[in-house]
Amino acid sequence: MHATSDLAHETLRLIPLLPLIGAALNGFFGFHLQRRFGERPVGLIAVFASLGAFAVAVAAVARLAGLPVDSRSLVDHVWTLFDVGQYLDMGELHVNLAFHLDPLSAVMVLVVTGVGSLIHIYSMGYMHGDKSYWRFFSYLNLFMFAMLLLVLGDNFIVMFFGWEGVGLCSYLLIGFWYSNRDYAKAGMKAFVVNRVGDFGFLAGLLTLVWGLSDVARQPQEKIRSAHAAVIAAEVRFDAHHGVNAHVKKKTYDAKAITARSMPDHRVVAGSLAFRTLESRKGELEILRQRKLLGLGFLTIVCICFFIGACGKSAQIPLYTWLPDAMAGPTPVSALIHAATMVTAGVYMVARLNFLFALSNGAMTVVTVVGALTALFAATIGFFQYDIKKVLAYSTVSQLGFMFMGVGSGAFAMGIFHLMTHAFFKACLFLGAGSIILGMHHRQDMREMGGIKKYMKATWLTFLVATVTIAGIPPLAGFASKDEILWNLFRNANTIVPGELIWAIAWLTAGCTAFYMFRLYYMTFTGDNRALAASKHAEAHGHGHDAHDAHSDGHHALTEIHESPKTMTIPLMILAGLSLVAGFFQMPFVTHFFDAWMEPVFRGTAHLVQNHKPYGHGIEAGLAIASVAIALVGILVVARRFYKDNASSVPARMLANPRWAAVHRVLHNKYYVDEAYDAAVVRPTVQATEAFARFDLRVIDFLVNMWSPIGRFFAWVHGLADKYVVDGLVDALANGTIAAGRKLKTVQTGRIQNYALGVLVGVVALSLALVAVL
């Protein structure tokens, strides 16, 4: 439907291009720049590349917003990537390198460039003094480029460019300090696990294209009638339900729509552009009715895509890489592993809403996996000591929320949570980075405490973000989370009852408040333990240096200082955004975000059935419930940690063996890594070795065996040569000599038997000859 009203907007390509130029400049010349002119030009190139992209993006979004609601779509076609088979009806494929800006990608672009720019600025402070400063900014810009490809991509292929590109940058940045073997391994793990997800993405894409090209061979009339049926359903829905009352109602003439929006399937058959795919309602409808492996065809497709999303967005079962990814510099964790890249999966599901909405099965899978991941990761977050690990599990958990949102059909709300999460989680991570820098690269919370006193700005912004994530109104976290909870509760999309999933999500919200405030208390309140320990050590001389083992050989901590302005200003901006972003879409108050997104998800509105007859009273009740459980979580922590924040875990709890066991399991992350290692990694390695052995010992052996076989034949013949041929001749010679010596003429040789055979044969032949003559 939107396909007809696309506007060309050639500046779109600048958005990814600017960071790419920045990355190239720093990549090729950064080393020399840094050596000759210091860090500043390097950092500035990167920051301006990013800011430039942000500026262009803002301009583009402004243009987009200026368009009528129904034609908010800007397209920039750069060139054709591939275009094969246009001379045949079957299997044609036309893919462009093209960018597409619509309300959905507009949100993403703004988040990516905006938050990204802040983090670039922050990094100038954070990475100060690193000898590979240039490399860091080059990678960071490259990441921006890839992420922008991902969100701006007009089709699957361009999206996949970005999809893999961000994976690559994630790999490079996690292993940024590559001389640490564990860091390098974490990068590799991230990439390989993501590849598993990519496999899912690819499988989904292949299945979808297969199905579409197969359907395209169906008679036109069939597709046409299916298309008309869908349009009719849309019109019926809008006429009768009109849930989004704030959207201006339109009157539809079903026939006119059918005539107008029915795409010529020959023209678009091979296009992988989202816009065109979305407009192929007839084909999709036919596909929806198909079965594959006993499941709905589109269910399979969507689940495959969702596997890809799981990989990128760290959902069960592919989440294990994200906590390890905290090996990278903290701005990286903020940008890639909290605000942007990991949300790509959510973005993809939202982008493919026209597919997911067609399959309740897939929606259920998305929601359930999201719910389980949210709870699972939140519980792991309870007892982690590394400040970044806690935040990492928190991210996994929050991503689960987003998936619950998009899975329950509230695509816009999932994206809204994505946005708010980007603000507060980036703030949290950057705050953590500030603390880590202040604590001279200490990350263990057991060494922290009392930072409130030393780092005012950090403390304040961190507190705001913590409250936000805990879901206290009217902050952004509350707004987005409550919208998701409400949509979960009333949704009828999923096969699993929405209320049950709501319960899980509600529980998770409590858990979130718990572990976040545990973190807050352990870090900011009380006295600083590392400082105390080093003072203690100083007092007792050098003998106790070994005691300082857990600080990883750092020098003793003598002072904690606030971070420079380049770091605190971004923190403040993000905290501010956390405070206000909720008002884009505050329950009962504003619906701006929903309205903005409406054109994107309009096509699926009639499919998404989150319309259980619950009234506003229940909605309010649920909101109160979610705030209540957050408060409970906070109170529990406050009771435990406010005074005694030194002990990582309440001693009383460990005293109880049952609680101790729980603690052990949670602290060890349910032993999932170990299980994977045993179940997947080691068998794979063993399999590869088995293959190599097979190659060497079987295949190559078979090949080499030909040589002995040949030689054997030769040897046999050699024997024949020696004993039969030469034997004959030698016998002759011998016989002659013997005759010469003894003048005896009669000697029979050993080849008599052979000769007898000849004799018999010849006589028989002679007689036969006589007979016939």
Partner: protein, 632 residues
């Protein structure tokens, strides 16, 4: 310039061998030898780039000219039934004359003038000629996707007593898009490899470069030849220099590797030879001449012949005279024979074991040539022979091809992961990647075939980089054991960057050219073979795993004591300018074609169009445009 345009391909093919002659006869000092070799390879490179630029990508291909023979027969027979009736009458008369013992040769000559006597009105003959004019087999040109054609009768041996049944071979070279991609690759990699051998080859320098140039002529010839016999000659010409290049300048087990390579390839060649002869005698033109009472092919000099080696004739103007061979389907038997011949070169499981040995023992530049070009000949051969000549058999065998493709991908990847020797790892990765070509072409969908061709090109660039990089580190420390390194990134950052780049390219990272081809292959293959394609797609996980694991072990982590020792001994200097110079062009191509593959993909269009139409029409799917054109 006209001369250049008319003989471009010949100059390209024979420039290296001229260089070889000059080296052999003239060059005295090693440096002169090297520079002559560089010039001799630069000439084809310049011409290849010229070719790449001037090739008319927009040339219209006449869809009717790439019809399957069966279809042509069908259409023809409708219009020309009458002519054939006349011709049969003529034949009967001719047989009668022959029985009476008159000289057969004279009879045929008379037949020319006596057309009317035996009852064929002259007008009919003229009309018939006009009807065949649109399909004049003597002209293969742009309408068939061919450009820069050079065609002459090489030899036309008369078989005694049968003045028109000739044994003919043509010097027929020409290019379509596929060939150009391969030619460009060959020229570039050969040129690069001269410089990759610059300092590494220390003994018998003259012999080395002579063999190298001879090899290049063979490779160029294979990609240009459009006559099967010519193709075969060039194919086998490569064998010998390769044998020596591995056997003389190779590593410790060079004899074993060289002999293994030689025997494998020769065995493949022998199969191809048999198939080639069978094809020759099985060929039967779809053009029919009542004067001769037999179908004929037309040679470049206009003489008519019964059989031909001309690949274009065989593909587009031919219907096999034999339906069966020893009770089996003729096309299928020959298809399999040809396929095995080519599969050895690819190399396809289970004919692959020569590859790791040959690679490990060969000097760097030769490994590069092997992986970058020679392997492509297998797939190129399948495109050039199996597909157009036996379209139906191709369809019949595509299932098996897919299975082998999937096995190649997975098997190669698994084996690569377990390798301890870096070069062997790269060799196995080649096996894995060539599986994509098989997979793509087997699907016989436009996407799959384009993908397979593009994969040939891309893998050529990428794997060349990989082998060059292996050579760089080997030149420094004289071993290639992955375990022997660790933390190299701190000591050789630029080398690390290049290796990382090449590895990611091999992984098929989007934005690098390998991705486009792999994606096309997957998209194309999945249309036809879902399970095998999905299984193959698992290969991308394994590939990432083993390549990253290798990076991890060699480059990342703390610097190991051994590497420190190398550094102390002064071996571990950073990659030098010459080496960067060999890698950079390839890297640039990988990036450019990763984002902007059109220049190469457009090349394939003209050639691919005919091929796909042919295969598709043989399976009963007749594109409407074609049907309209032939009036069917």
């Amino acid at each position: 310039m006209d001369f250049l345009n008319e003989h471009l391909l010949s100059i390209m093919v024979f420039a290296p061998v001229v260089g070889m002659a000059v080296i052999w006869l003239v060059a005295k000092s090693d440096n002169v030898v090297k520079w002559i070799a560089a010039v001799a390879t630069a000439v084809p490179l310049v011409l290849a780039v010229y070719l790449f630029n001037t090739y008319d990508r927009k040339a219209e291909v006449d869809p009717t000219l790439s019809l399957s023979p069966a279809k042509i027969d069908e259409v023809r027979s409708k219009n020309q039934k009458a002519i054939i009736d006349y011709a049969m009458k003529y034949n009967a008369w001719a047989a009668e004359v022959r029985r009476r013992g008159e000289d057969a040769a004279a009879l045929r000559l008379e037949g020319d003038e006596k057309g009317n006597v035996v009852g064929i009105p002259a007008e009919t003959v003229r009309a018939w000629y006009q009807s065949t004019a649109s399909h004049d087999p003597a002209k293969w040109d742009k309408r068939h996707g061919l450009q820069f054609v050079e065609r002459a009768v090489w030899f036309n041996v008369q078989i005694a007593g049968l003045s028109w049944a000739k044994f003919n071979v043509e010097y027929f070279v020409g290019v379509d898009g596929t060939s150009i991609a391969m030619i460009l690759l060959t020229a570039l990699i050969s040129f690069i490899c001269i410089f990759a051998s610059w300092e590494n080859i220390k003994k018998h320098i003259k012999g080395y470069f002579c063999m190298f140039l001879l090899l290049e002529t063979g490779m160029m010839g294979v990609f240009c030849a459009l006559d099967f016999f010519l193709f075969f000659i060039f194919w086998d010409v490569m064998l010998l220099p390769m044998y020596f290049l591995i056997g003389v300048w190779g590593g410790p087990r060079k004899e074993y590797a060289a002999i293994k390579f030689f025997l494998y390839t020769f065995a493949g060649g022998v199969l191809m030879l048999l198939a080639m002869i069978a094809i020759y005698y099985g060929s039967q033109s779809t053009s029919f001449d009542p004067r001769y009472g037999q179908p004929f092919f037309k040679l470049a000099d206009g003489s008519l012949v019964q059989h031909t080696f001309n690949l274009m004739d065989l593909a587009y103007a031919n219907s096999w005279s034999t339906a069966s061979l020893l009770g089996m389907d003729f096309a299928k038997v020959i298809w399999v024979a040809l396929f095995i011949g080519f599969a050895i070169k690819i190399p396809m499981f289970p004919f692959h074991t020569w590859l790791p040995d040959a690679h490990v023992e060969a000097p760097t530049a030769i490994s590069v040539i092997l992986a970058g070009i020679l392997l492509k000949m297998g797939t190129y051969g399948i495109f050039r022979m199996n597909f157009p000549l036996f379209a139906e058999a191709t369809k019949w065998a595509s299932g098996a091809m897919v299975v082998f493709g999937a096995i190649n991908i997975l098997y190669g990847a698994f084996c690569a992961m377990a390798q301890k020797d870096l070069k062997k790892l790269v060799a196995y990765s080649s096996i894995s990647h060539m599986g994509f070509c098989l997979l793509g072409m087997a699907a016989v969908t436009p996407a799959g075939m384009n993908g397979a061709m593009f994969q040939m090109f891309n893998h050529g660039c990428i794997t060349a980089m990989l082998f060059l990089l292996v050579g760089v580190i080997y030149d420094r420390v004289h071993h290639r054991q992955i375990e022997g390194f660790g933390g190299l990134a701190s000591k050789m950052p630029v080398y690390t960057a290049f290796t990382g780049f090449a590895f990611f390219a091999a992984m098929g990272l989007p934005g690098l050219s390998g991705f486009i081809s792999e994606a096309l292959v997957f998209l194309g293959a999945f249309q036809e073979f879902q399970l095998a394609t999905v299984l193959s797609a698992i290969g991308i996980i394994i590939t990432a795993a083993y390549l990253l694991w290798t990076i991890q072990r060699m480059f990342l982590g703390p610097v190991t004591d051994r590497v420190l020792a190398y550094e102390k001994e002064g071996h571990l200097h950073e990659i030098n300018l010459r080496e960067v110079g060999t890698l950079a062009p390839l890297a640039v191509m990988v990036i450019v074609f990763g984002f902007y593959p059109a220049p190469v993909l457009d090349l394939f269009k003209s050639g691919m169009q005919g091929l796909t139409t042919l295969v598709a029409s043989s399976t009963g799917i007749m594109p409407n445009v074609v049907l309209a054109a032939v009036g069917g």
